[in-house]
């Protein structure tokens, strides 16, 4: 059994039960007239410590000792993922959120760049909000490889001890952050949709969806550092860069482990768009009826400068590649505008796009669940409305 994180002084407890109501985990119960702890349920959140009117509950010595060593960790970091020297937009989004968190915590905000020939990115990251940029610029880091990236970031963590680190929940970020967290023996929360600094505990509160978006959970990492979280692209807004911002760039030379694997070929074809990064998505579902009809979506997407998304039904029918799929088994997207044609709105699909700023849905079924979350819901025949809409946008462009 773990050492109890809290101590209840029997001499001071009056049996008022306020702590029992305050405990979010049901870890306290009444033993006669005395509040009693179930240590295995306690998560050391200290809600009871604050709730007790008689100061009968305190955080224990073990918990306090651990806390002081945790105080060695300072500052918030953003992992600035780059591909071919170009920093991914999600890093800038995280820096704008990081600024807010750093202000609330009263600490520094730093960005970390791993790559080769990437030193130029530092000025952009400073303009986007970083006080400091750690750059590791070495040929071994030119292409992402899990082992090498994990080693590099872990060395920096060991040396500079950040309190929290954020990364984009991209294919790269999700995979190697999980390794980094295990190597540092700390906690990691994936796909956060909200981040804040708790006023009392100064801990990072990380909110994420689970169970297919049916449930939200707020998670914290009280006794381990760094606190780690990933955030999906487009969840946070990017703030405009300030080229006058001053910051410090630190070049780090590291001795890195050998790669576990090597990339022999990279295939990028034009249709393999990353829908997670798109501002405008024109999406279709089963109601599109056949593959050829997706051409209508493409046409409108091209006109609006967007990309085509689909529900699972279209991918399963073989109409389009899985890289266009929105939803739980596809991609989660948060575009400015999501146009849904012939998508009824299965929960798995809604989970993947409910974060969109504006949702416009066209469906012939008045009871389609997509209407429940659409800002504008139109009951109608998409084969009538979509061509008219394309024409209207085209003529608007000409005039």
């Amino acid at each position: 059994m773990a050492d109890a994180p809290i101590f209840i002084d029997p001499a001071k407890c009056r049996g008022c039960k306020k702590c029992i109501t305050a405990c979010p985990f049901g870890a306290l119960y009444m033993e006669g007239k005395l509040a009693t702890l179930k240590p295995e349920e306690c998560r050391a959140c200290n809600a009871c410590v604050k709730a007790c009117p008689f100061k009968a509950i305190s955080s224990t010595a073990q918990a306090e000792a651990k806390k002081s060593s945790l105080d060695d960790f300072k500052g918030i970091w953003v992992f600035a993922e780059q591909h071919q020297g170009k920093v991914q937009e999600v890093a800038y989004e995280l820096l704008s959120t990081g600024r807010r968190l750093a202000k609330d915590r009263g600490c520094e905000l730093a960005a970390v760049v791993l790559g080769h020939n990437v030193a130029d990115s530092a000025s952009h990251l400073i303009a986007a909000g970083a006080d400091k940029v750690y750059v590791v610029d070495q040929p071994e880091l030119a292409e992402y490889e899990a082992n090498v990236y994990t080693d590099a970031l872990n060395q920096l963590i060991a040396k500079y001890k950040p309190e929290a680190i954020l990364a984009g929940a991209t294919a790269v970020g999700r995979a190697f952050f999980a390794k980094v967290a295990v190597r540092s023996r700390t906690g990691l929360t994936a796909d956060c949709t909200a981040l804040s600094i708790d006023k009392e505990s100064h801990l990072l509160h990380q909110t994420r969806p689970a169970f297919g978006g049916n449930i939200m959970a707020t998670i914290m990492t009280p006794n381990h550092r760094p606190q780690m979280a990933t955030v999906r692209p487009k969840v946070f807004k990017m703030s405009p860069p300030d080229p006058k911002r001053k910051g410090e760039t630190l070049m780090e030379a590291l001795k890195l482990v050998a790669a576990g694997t090597k990339i022999v070929r990279v295939e990028r074809n034009a249709s393999n768009v990353n829908i997670a990064e798109a501002e405008i998505i024109v999406a279709g579902g089963r109601g599109m009826k056949k593959a050829e009809n997706l051409e209508l979506l493409r046409k409108l997407a091209d006109l609006l400068g967007g990309v085509v998304g689909v529900s699972r039904a279209c991918v399963d029918a073989g109409w389009i590649s899985a890289s266009h799929q929105v939803g739980q088994t596809g991609k989660t997207v948060c575009p400015k505008i999501y146009l849904a044609f012939g998508i009824s709105g299965a929960i798995q699909h809604l989970e993947g796009m409910r974060g969109s700023d504006t949702i416009i849905a066209v469906n012939n079924d008045p009871n389609a669940s997509i209407f429940g979350i659409a800002d504008l819901g139109i009951v109608g025949d998409l084969f009538e409305i979509l061509p008219m809409l394309i024409e209207a946008v085209e003529s608007k462009r000409k005039s």
Partner: protein, 263 residues
């Protein structure tokens, strides 16, 4: 060749809801299924077995009733199965889970050739346990795998990245996570089911796999859930019937697009 596949029993998430009064999960009556992504991982292992001859061991960590998914894996063609189950594992986050599973893998085989996972589980959606296990085993990690070829102890895999496909090569052993763009999982054969039903499934606890208590379950989990709650419900905005007057509907869409700065 020995391939270890890790599978998880998950609730069919479509039906999981939160009780708005108590803010607790309502899992009663929710059907349990094998995590869909793990089916793809199992299929890749079975395909390699068909092509090269391999032993396939399937491990699941969960409550005793998770045995069902192991029987299903056997019915499809797995050679051995193990259920990792212990009250000491309860409340494990991804770190404690990765640790427990890696301990079980080490006991199954100190030198497996491949360890396969689904990309992520559909209940937690973290995609962290596969990478976590690669760390505890100290094996190279390859994520988002859609096809695997093996030649002389060297693997060549296609991985589905955000902007395309990367072809990756490496020497076994390795930990891989498999995406749904891989092959369609096979059905279990009737004879497979008959066989699987009869088999006694070994159950291992924390002590059996040499897992230390401080690293298991809640104790070994750095992350703590502060609260759970129902997601903010986005209520529908304006509704229009576009069946009678499609022109008006198109105008409404255009207006909204213009208000948002597009079109």
């Amino acid at each position: 060749m020995h391939i270890v596949v890790c599978v998880k029993q998950v609730p069919d998430t479509t039906n999981v809801r939160i009780n708005p009064e108590t803010n607790t999960l309502m899992r009663e009556g929710v059907e349990s299924i094998i995590n869909p992504f793990d089916e793809y991982a199992l299929e890749e292992a079975l395909k390699l077995k068909d092509a090269h001859g391999a032993r396939v061991t399937v491990i699941s960590m969960g409550p005793p009733q998770a045995e069902v998914v192991l029987r299903e894996a056997m019915a499809r063609g797995a050679d051995d199965v193990v259920l990792l189950t212990d009250r000491a594992f309860a409340g494990a986050d991804t770190l404690a889970t990765s640790y427990a599973i890696s301990q079980a893998i080490k006991k199954v085989d100190a030198h497996p050739d491949l360890v396969l996972f689904g990309k992520q589980a559909i209940d937690g959606d973290t995609a962290q346990v596969g990478p976590g296990v690669s760390e505890f085993l100290d094996f190279p990690l390859v994520t988002y795998v859609k096809s695997i070829e093996i030649n002389d102890g060297v693997f060549t895999v296609e991985t589905q990245m955000d902007e395309g496909v990367n072809v990756i090569e490496g020497k076994m052993p390795a930990v891989m996570t498999v995406v749904k763009e891989a092959s369609t999982p096979r059905f279990a054969s009737l004879s497979g089911w008959m066989e699987a039903k009869k088999t006694a499934i070994p159950r291992w606890g924390a002590k059996d796999v040499g897992a230390t208590a401080e690293m298991c379950g809640l104790n070994g989990s750095p992350t703590k859930v502060v609260k759970i709650f129902a997601p903010p419900t986005k209520t529908g905005g304006s509704r229009m019937d576009g069946r009678e007057e499609p022109e008006a509907a198109v105008d409404a869409i255009l207006e909204m697009l213009q208000n948002k700065g597009v079109a």
